[in-house]
């Protein structure tokens, strides 16, 4: 029964992510990459163990991260509450080994560390329960 509920829950999360994805595409069309990134990071499903949900959300976040051109400009309008979750996704990006993704993640990582400090890195690495 518990497994069944988990599956239902996962379906609901996937639907939400699909909805989010459409919203992000429209935000990107309006040249609002930071809004798109915020939307992607909001409601990220770290608590679920379902890898499908995590992957689906990563695709959405990845789309938003790659659309960021002006990293300094992004940080001037990104609130600190997003820093920890963004750091987790940057490490997920770095783990893909994909050249353009890693380039972009490293560029953002440098600026994010300047702003959020080493504590932010520690929080993303030390938390082995709420992975993205």
């Amino acid at each position: 029964m518990a497994g069944h509920e988990e599956a239902d829950n996962a379906e609901a999360i996937i639907t939400r992510i699909e909805h989010k994805s459409r919203k992000i595409e429209s935000l990107l069309k309006q040249y609002k990459p930071v809004e798109a990134l915020k939307t992607a990071l909001e409601g990220s499903p770290p608590k679920t163990r379902d890898e499908r949900c995590k992957s689906a959300n990563w695709i959405v976040v990845h789309r938003a991260i790659m659309a960021i051109k002006d990293v300094d400009g992004m940080f001037s309008s990104l609130d600190p509450e997003y820093y920890d979750i963004l750091m987790k996704y940057l490490y997920r990006g770095l783990s893909t080994g994909d050249r353009p993704t890693c380039d972009q993640c490293l560029r953002i990582h440098e600026k994010l560390t300047e702003r959020a400090g080493l504590g932010c890195i520690l929080r993303s690495l030390a938390d082995t329960v709420n992975t993205v």
Partner: protein, 381 residues
């Protein structure tokens, strides 16, 4: 502001200094990362080794010195504990069999000094008390409550409640009521009528290792730290606790100390004590580093502050040493050059406020800090 004591080989250290304001009589006990405990005395501006406590077979992992009864308890990786009593000029050990199958990691005397708690790698906590009729220290275990090693223990001022942190990320509060040792009226508040080993509350705030737990002087607030650069403050410890999580931008902490109800000093991997304080609404936040991180332009200023403190405590002869400690090239910018893993309050006779404490770290240094001339922090004392 601070004074420096350094030995070349001291790595792990637990200090329990006693300072008497009038005579500047200061004792300090530490373990130089081996099976011995060294006791030093400050006499005429010089540190002098007066005792070596040698009984353990392996590294001593915890030391605590009870102030009123003048007893030292030590625990070690050899899974045993000794209570040391001073008889004439000698420290005489009494073996306490903890009944552990893993190393003991930390030890604390209870506020009334009639019990002590030992955290261990065996996922258990030992509560030890003295049995008069048998002339023997008995160890009672709290088993099957922790999922991993117990890294730190802290006594509530009521002598009954014990808080523990563990590498399973949880902070737990237990009752340690022992018939014949404690009386029912000795405690008030949550858990005062509970049995030995009963878990009062389990706090699941951290998702990684938890270290360093302490109660505030009144016992109304609990603080502990996680390895994720977070510090947690918990009020109303009981059935419905309220918690505040404070994330900070620097490296994680290892130990904390309540200086007052409203101020906490945290020490850890950043090599520099951090000050946290609560505002009027009770909201905790990071205030600043205690030994300011300096830029080269400000080093002169701090140098003079250090000298001033030294002059006050030890006469002007120590100027040279104090200036050595503020070279701008130091990587961490503070007095300690490596992780600080221990912070102990200094008990001055006849002073109700706690204004000084000592820290020790993996760099082999013991540093004494005084808050008296940190004017911006005095409002929190």
């Amino acid at each position: 502001m601070l004074l420096l004591f350094s030995t070349s080989d001291l790595i792990h250290c637990s200090a329990a200094p006693l300072i008497n304001n009038f005579t500047l009589f200061c004792l300090i006990a530490f373990c130089p990362n081996n099976n011995e405990v060294h006791i030093y005395r400050l006499l005429e501006e010089k540190w002098e080794r007066i005792h070596i406590l040698q009984k353990h077979d392996q590294i001593v992992s915890g030391i605590d010195w009870s102030v009123r009864s003048n007893r030292i308890v030590t625990v070690s990786h050899d899974r045993n504990s000794y209570v040391w009593n001073q008889e004439a000029a000698e420290w005489v050990p009494t073996l306490v069999i903890l009944r552990l199958n893993r190393a003991a990691l930390c030890v604390r005397w209870s506020p009334r000094e009639n019990k002590f708690a030992v955290g261990s790698g065996a996922k258990t906590v030992c509560i030890c008390y003295y049995e008069q009729e048998n002339n023997w220290w008995v160890s009672k275990l709290i088993r099957k409550r922790h999922d991993s090693s117990v890294t730190s223990v802290a006594w509530h001022p009521n002598n009954i409640l014990l808080a523990t942190t563990s590498t399973d990320g949880k902070c737990r509060v237990f009752s340690t009521f022992i018939k014949g040792v404690d009386t029912r009226d000795s405690g008030t508040g949550p858990g005062s009528d509970s049995k030995f080993g009963e878990q009062i509350v389990q706090l699941d705030l951290s998702f990684c290792w938890a270290f360093g737990v302490k109660w505030s002087p009144s016992g109304s607030t609990l603080a502990y730290v996680g390895h994720n650069s977070m510090i947690y403050f918990v009020d109303e410890v009981g059935p419905s606790p309220s918690a505040q999580n404070v994330a900070f931008r620097d490296l994680p902490l290892r130990d904390v100390l309540f200086v007052s109800e409203r101020m906490v000093i945290g020490v850890g991997f950043d090599c520099n004590p951090m000050v946290f304080a609560a505002d009027e609404r009770g909201l905790w936040s990071f205030i600043r580093f205690l030994g300011q991180r300096k830029t080269s332009s400000s080093s002169v200023k701090y140098g003079s502050q250090f000298s001033e403190a030294f002059g006050k405590l030890y006469g002007q002869s120590k100027h040279g040493i104090s200036n050595d400690t503020v070279e701008p090239s130091r990587p961490c910018g503070g007095i300690h050059e490596n992780c600080i893993n221990c912070i102990v309050p200094l008990k001055k006779t006849g002073d109700s406020r706690m204004t000084s404490f000592s820290t020790s770290g993996l760099d082999g240094k013991v540093v004494i800090w005084d808050l008296e001339n940190q004017e911006d922090l005095l409002e929190y004392l």
